[in-house]
């Protein structure tokens, strides 16, 4: 409504016109301010925090590129890390050349990653985008395994499992920035993250981006209107590979090492997890997923050795109960937020959270004890979980865990009924508000 209003009545003086122009970009301006301030927020203003933020930025670019593929074009790839990893290799080889005396500033190294990703994307995209669906998924899987095996073989190019290293301190120092501190690297990554996010966002709005959606939803119809579905898929694939390569270039600058695992199946799987958990075909969802998963990978692994198990369970819960991902869950609540029944829905959530936490506690206790016993049998049956000393040889921890799990599930099922009733009320009210505004 705002946009329509401002177009109907052209602004009278320059000042409000400029302000209206700025207002259009308010999300992007907010993002710039946020990214500039984040590394100085207490708690993140240290090397660990800045490194975490850098990893999130890299993951966000990678996830956004995958979102273009899976979310916008409907191409499920099991080998997207190929373009990330080969981009990273292109970047690290450029960094080595710079270390050898090539006068290029390090800030441009990620572009080498993007170029590498684009090049490989054009080659593999030409052969794999002729078909969509399961055939495409299988080709991507095959190419992923093929490139991973090749990288382990070509020791001179890839360094194999050990990888190859370079130093990001070399080259001409622009504005005195030598990338010695994690803060410098963070700002470089934040800059490229913003640029890629903006480019990918506006790409979706272009005619090609719209055609990607058309090809995803109904390829026959798109063909009938006169567009080659294969060419559209190829374009989307090449663009996605470019940004995956850019993310790989950022990875090379951030870690100063690239190894064969950068193209591996585990990385391809994790980007799929990020995008799906965040929300397929939702632009913000991909970023949300990248931030969530990176945070889980970094922080959860400090607390428990079984973090991958929890990540897997989280993924399965999303696939089964919330196919729209985290962003989908949020979007479901947006129309309800204005209804009067929303307060009672929130109250029902607050009540339901308690038994769910109890059940989760029981399940986590069982998993943790089992995991510890089987992965570290030499450590014995005594362990410390949540600052409490436990002996798994006695029945008590098992009984507590089982009791918490059973009581929690039982109570949660009852609470779910209240939530469902509150949900029905709120959505009925929202539907009525839509029908009779």
């Amino acid at each position: 409504m705002n946009g329509a209003g401002s177009r109907a009545a052209p602004s009278l003086d320059v000042r409000t016109g400029a302000l209206a122009g700025l207002a259009r970009y308010r999300v992007w301006i907010a993002a710039v301010v946020l990214l500039a301030l984040l590394p100085h927020v207490p708690g993140l203003a240290n090397d660990f925090g800045r490194s975490l933020l850098s990893q999130m930025g890299i993951a966000a670019v990678f996830a956004l590129s995958y979102n273009l593929l899976l979310g916008q074009t409907g191409l499920l790839s099991f080998g997207h890390a190929v373009y990330f990893g080969l981009g990273a290799y292109a970047a690290i080889h450029l960094m080595r050349a710079i270390n050898g005396g090539l006068p290029i500033p390090m800030a441009f190294v990620p572009l080498a990653g993007a170029a590498g990703g684009l090049l490989v994307g054009i080659v593999f995209g030409a052969v794999s985008t002729r078909r969509a669906g399961v055939v495409f998924a299988l080709i991507s899987l095959g190419i992923g395994e093929l490139v991973f095996a090749a990288m382990r073989m070509l020791q001179g190019f890839s360094g194999g499992e050990e990888g190859i290293t370079a130093n990001r301190g070399g080259g001409p120092h622009w504005l005195g920035v030598n990338f010695a501190s994690q803060l410098d690297v963070y700002y470089l990554i934040a800059f490229w993250t913003l640029v890629s996010a903006a480019l990918l966002y506006y790409f979706i709005g272009t005619p090609v981006g719209r055609l990607c959606n058309a090809v995803r939803d109904n390829p026959e119809r798109a063909e009938f209107v006169g567009y080659s579905a294969q060419r559209v898929r190829f374009t989307a694939f090449a663009v996605a590979a470019t940004f995956a390569g850019l993310a790989g270039g950022l990875h090379a600058v951030n870690y100063e090492i690239v190894a064969a695992e950068a193209v591996g199946a585990a990385r391809s799987g994790s980007v799929l997890l990020m995008v799906y958990i965040g929300g397929v075909s939702n632009f913000v969802g991909a970023i949300l997923g990248a931030i969530t998963i990176t945070w889980l990978q970094v922080s959860l692994s400090d607390y428990t050795a079984a973090w991958q198990l929890y990540l897997g369970l989280f993924f399965m819960a999303i696939v089964l109960y919330a196919p729209g991902g985290l962003a989908g869950l949020i979007m479901m609540h947006v129309p309800l937020a204005r209804t009067a029944a929303f307060a009672s829905l929130l109250r029902a959530y607050a009540v339901a959270v308690v038994p769910l936490l109890v059940a989760l506690f029981g399940a986590a206790l069982l998993l943790e004890i089992n995991y510890r016993l089987s992965t570290q049998p030499q450590a014995g049956t005594r362990m410390t979980l949540l600052h409490v000393d436990i002996d798994a040889a006695t029945p008590w921890p098992w009984l507590v865990a089982a009791l918490a799990l059973i009581v929690g599930i039982f109570a949660a099922r009852r609470a779910c009924r209240t939530v469902a009733a509150a949900w029905r009320d709120a959505s009925a009210e929202a539907a009525a508000a839509r029908a009779y505004p």
Binding site: L70, V135, L138, G142, A150, L154, F157, Q308, L313
Partner: protein
């Protein structure tokens, strides 16, 4: 030379038959239900672990029967309480469900049996020499593996081509409403197909677990190869899966035995690649080193050139 060829051929056939056992269940599930089951190799792994655990209490032969039945029951439960609900979200939802399942099963196996490989030795009851060739004795369990694999082929081929149940299952995929209207319980047919597929994979795991290292990574290592077999053989074709698995088994075992590189090949024509040139590394790779790469090369080429596979009748 004859000895090398004979043993490579024999090992290739054994490896190929092992691959066939694994992929027959997958091609069954895929062609009947349209589900690309990423957790199929995980069922193979569960078979290996269960038979190891059961074998310690009840011996090898009962474990050979019971472990696949247990895994089949697990497969039925997965279809009934998981896959059926994801089915509404379409193929991507199904693929992601089985993808997550494979991830979870590997983690659960770590939780129960630990991260390190277990000592899954060939039991004494089947560890004796079958015959001896060129002074090397050939173990009985490899013969057993071949026999079970061929038995599986015969069972699947006859069950689907010659029995009424097989016809109903085949019809249930293409015309579920019609089959349902004729009085058959289509959801139950799907549960049955998924359970049989999983049980076949588990039986392969019981017998194949000895030949490979039984560890939590085995599913992730084998999974992609099984897809290669199914794609190359042709979707839903049991004879195609047999041919493709033999082909891949034999190619891989022969490639491992070949100690030549492109460098040697070029030298025969008087071409030498200088050590400093950028092509030196690629040319110096031996065929034996490139062996793990060959199946995936075959997969990609097959999907590009002939997506329906060797014996397939339709694209996926």
């Amino acid at each position: 030379m004859l000895e090398l060829v004979t043993f490579s051929l024999l090992n290739g056939v054994v490896y190929g038959l092992l691959l066939f056992m694994l992929s027959s269940g997958l091609t069954l599930i895929w062609s009947m239900m349209g589900v690309l089951n990423f957790a199929h190799a995980s069922m193979f792994m569960l078979g290996a672990y269960f038979s190891y655990q059961l074998g310690r209490y009840i011996g090898f032969w009962p474990a050979l029967v019971i472990a696949p039945l247990v895994v089949g029951a697990i497969g039925a439960a997965i279809e009934r309480y998981g896959l059926r609900y994801v089915h509404r979200q379409g193929h991507v939802g199904e693929i992601l469900f089985t993808f997550g399942l494979a991830y979870l099963i590997a983690e659960l196996v770590i939780m129960i049996w630990g991260r390190n490989p277990i000592e899954n030795r060939v039991p004494a009851t089947i560890d004796f020499s079958l015959f001896s060739l060129f002074g090397t004795s050939y173990p009985f369990y490899k013969g057993l593996m071949m026999a079970i694999s061929l038995g599986m082929f015969a069972f699947l081929y006859l069950a689907f081509k010659r029995t009424r149940v097989g016809l109903v299952i085949q019809a249930a995929l293409s015309h579920p409403q019609m089959v349902s209207a004729l009085g058959h319980d289509v959801p139950k047919v799907f549960v049955l197909v998924f359970a049989i597929g999983c049980a076949l994979a588990a039986m392969a795991g019981v017998i194949g677990g000895f030949a490979l290292l039984t560890e939590p990574n085995m599913a992730a290592a084998l999974g992609p190869i099984v897809f290669v077999v199914v794609v190359v053989g042709g979707l839903g074709s049991i004879p195609g899966a047999l041919i493709a698995s033999m082909l891949i088994g034999i190619i891989q075992t022969f490639a491992v035995a070949l100690d030549y590189s492109l460098l040697d090949f070029l030298r025969q024509f008087g071409v030498t690649v200088l050590r400093g040139s950028p092509f030196y590394e690629i040319c110096s790779i031996k065929i034996a080193q490139a062996a793990p790469l060959l199946p995936y090369l075959l997969l990609v080429l097959m999907l590009i050139l002939r997506p329906r596979g060797l014996m397939g009748t339709r694209e996926s």
